[in-house]
């Protein structure tokens, strides 16, 4: 929101990806330029607004002017911007992403009308990129902790649970079980004490929403957890965060400290008599710990291995006591539902599934980043309208949802509404929200092999079908990618898939074959080509490839020459096609990816 104060306000995104994109250097350049020119401005470090493709992003509010977002800044352009806009009143439309406010600026389009933002509905990400995650005052100013006050100043435990049930909120960790029902089971359990756990062990490769929420708005998770703890009657809670997320750990720890100081956590919260102590547990790098029973074993200091359910955690969880586990996104949704009411939340989304879902859009897509959309929106809308489609003029091939437990869906299924049931029916899953887009340069057999390699190495080893079956499947897929596959292998893959699904205790094994099953179902021709013709149409499986130049298409621009890591490509002169030396070529595909004219052929 544009601020009416007299000072200039500059906000800069400082989440992990902003920093990786160079936000620190941009901030330094801005500060230096401000100082050099004697400009007085308030700098605010905020979380991730989700437009990762445009990082580093800043926004500037000049008194009396609309707020303007700028993206893809470098230290140089940022310094120019400070000088041009703040000193000389040139808003630099060439660097701007968009403006916010009733007034518009010539040459700059309205920010929230941009295709990437227009169809988004931000509930879980409501504060990400707008508030300083390291200042509780910012969260409070954005109506933070109002929901907790409302709960503690007159709602019964049952009323809170009913509100969540009525909202239709389903677990955003992927399984999609009713959050309200889960809380009810835990409230109804008779044993004491009860525990509350937030699963922030976001392990799916290609998923980073939980990280962004914890980095950008940690208090929303803490407030949601405190409400949940009140509802189920838990006095102690844990937030289990992946070790690979150091910044998230730091910000959550800081937020807990601030919340305790302000009296939103700890003893006798808001003089209601309710006390809640929250601990952070850092994971230690085991993917299987995302499974709830394995996660609890890990908190107890044991090897993170799942155990059979029932008993469910609501009956026997941490240290054998009733425990409720929810995902980060479910927790972050809770304060919004309590504040605005179940009816409001249930009005968003589709008839069957309520609310919004957050996806981490990545891979071969123009606008990679975080998107929050109403449930039931089509995959096509997400990928092509919000995501901007596949870059570099390449053809869309598949979208992978749900990480290693999910599947690859082809173009023909893009009009599928995004919700738990539709995706499961298509052989994939909603999962925690990773969405990786693949283009014609992605080999579906290689992708299946890639995911199997992942689950095989992450299998905890408890269930034999998962431990050994994934290894066998991986071996077969490696053979197919290496040109040594047989047609019988396909039946064997199907058979092994069934055994692993049926013979594994937890979600890791039960879903591990999904990437293989969906690629076999939707892209069988690629398997056949690998096996029968020793051909990889995407040009990924190296053993099967030769690279050549299509002379008519090649203008000798030299992009491939620069891209080649082994100097196997030589220029032959101006506007003449290049030559690839096959003896030097390592079949890495860098030239194919670099060529903008499709002049490199892979056979």
């Amino acid at each position: 929101m544009p601020k009416s104060s007299e000072k200039i306000h500059i906000s800069i995104g400082m989440a992990s990806c902003s920093k990786a994109a160079g936000a620190d250097a941009v901030l330094e350049a801005i500060n230096a330029e401000l100082k050099k020119n004697g400009i007085d401005a308030v700098i605010k470090e905020v979380g991730c607004i989700g437009l990762c493709h445009a990082e580093p992003i800043i926004d500037i509010v000049k008194p009396g002017c609309p707020q303007i977002y700028y993206g893809n800044l470098t230290p140089e352009t940022a310094a120019e911007l400070v000088k041009d806009y703040l000193l000389n009143d040139n808003p630099r439309p060439d660097l701007a992403l968009g403006s916010v406010g009733s007034e518009t600026v010539e040459g700059i389009s309205p920010f929230y009308e941009l295709p990437v933002l227009k169809s988004q509905v931000r509930i879980i990400l409501r504060n990400c990129g707008h508030i300083n995650p390291e200042r509780i005052e910012d969260y409070i100013a954005a109506d933070g902790y109002q929901a907790l006050k409302k709960v503690l100043s007159g709602m019964t435990q049952q009323q809170v649970i009913d509100e969540i049930k009525d909202s239709g909120l389903r677990g955003r960790g992927g399984a999609g079980f009713s959050t309200g029902m889960k809380w009810q089971f835990c409230l109804d359990a008779i044993s004491e004490p009860k525990y509350l756990v937030c699963n922030a062990d976001e392990g799916d490769p290609g998923a980073f929403m939980d990280r962004s929420i914890m980095e950008g708005d940690p208090h929303s998770v803490i407030e949601g957890m405190t409400i949940a703890a009140y509802a189920i009657g838990a006095g102690e809670g844990y937030i289990y965060i992946r070790a690979e997320y150091p910044l998230a750990v730091k910000r959550v720890l800081l937020a807990i400290k601030e919340a305790e100081e302000k009296g939103f956590l700890g003893e006798d919260i808001a003089a209601s008599g309710f006390s809640f102590k929250l601990h952070v547990k850092e994971g230690a790098g085991a993917f299987v710990c995302g499974e709830e029973t394995a996660l609890m074993a890990s908190i107890e200091g044991k090897r993170g291995m799942p155990r059979p359910r029932p008993p469910f955690p609501a009956q026997s969880g941490l240290w054998g006591k009733p425990t409720n586990i929810n995902n980060v996104k479910s927790m972050a949704s809770v304060p919004a539902i309590i504040s605005k009411g179940a009816e409001w939340y249930a009005g968003i989304g589709s008839d069957k599934v309520k609310g919004t879902a957050v996806f981490a859009l990545a891979g071969k897509i123009k606008n990679s980043g975080l998107v929050e959309v109403p449930m039931g929106i089509s995959l096509r809308d997400i990928i092509f309208n919000i995501g901007g489609g596949v870059p570099n003029g390449k053809q869309f091939k598949a979208v992978q949802t749900g990480g290693p437990s999910g599947g690859c869906l082809p173009e023909s299924l893009l009009d599928l509404p995004v919700d738990y049931d539709s995706l499961t029916k298509a052989g994939s899953i909603m999962g925690s929200g990773g969405m990786v887009v693949m283009d014609e340069g992605t080999c579906m057999v290689d992708i299946a092999r890639y995911f199997l390699a992942f689950t095989q190495s992450e299998s905890c080893g408890k269930c034999t079908p998962c431990r050994l079956g994934t290894k066998q499947m991986l071996g077969i897929l490696e053979n197919i990618c290496g040109g040594k596959g047989k047609m019988e292998d396909i039946d064997l893959l199907l058979e092994l898939s069934q055994s692993i699904k049926k013979g594994s205790l937890c979600g890791l094994g039960q879903t591990a074959p999904n990437p293989v099953l969906t690629t076999l179902r939707y892209f069988p021709e690629e398997y056949k080509e690998h096996i029968k013709q020793h051909r990889c149409r995407a040009g990924v499986c190296k053993e099967l490839l030769t690279y050549s130049v299509i002379s008519e298409k090649c203008p000798g621009c030299g992009l491939c020459v620069k891209a080649c890591p082994v100097n196997a490509i030589t220029l032959t002169g101006k506007k003449k096609p290049v030559i690839i030396d096959e003896t030097k070529c390592t079949r890495c595909g860098a030239c194919y990816n670099a060529c903008r004219l499709g002049a490199i052929e892979v056979k």
């Binding site: 850092e282 890990s298 107890e300 891979g363």
Partner: protein, 156 residues
Amino acid sequence: MEVDFKEKTAGILSQFKRDRSSLIPILQQVQQEFGYLPEEAMQQIADFLRISGSTVYSISTFYTQFKLAPSGKKVIRVCRGTACHVRGAAEILRKLEEQLSIKADETTADLEYTLETVACIGACALAPVITINDEVYAKMTPDKIERILKKPDSHS
């Protein structure tokens, strides 16, 4: 050297409750201190928590975060997440292995570099990425690897 381990480990242990659930946080702190888990320290932890040394060992080998041998000064992690994979992480890893003359999960003889792979560091929009110690390097290419690794004493 051994005395040093013992004292420092004792210092870390004094901050924790004598409870099994402290085991993983203790191991994390000890590793942060030494860069890996020395055998003596593991036994000391076992004694402190009144559990067997083999239990501590079983935890240390289950979780990929824990290292049983010293790592190099610079730990390079190559992200192998899906987004990085489809954008060429394999090529980045190959280049690093070639440049450092070691394979993944190995350390150079001069203890300068350790090369590891990581499932996903969650910076998918900037794929492919690597981290060197805790710093993230975005949108890597084999060329950039060469530039980043350039240092005064050339590698053979």
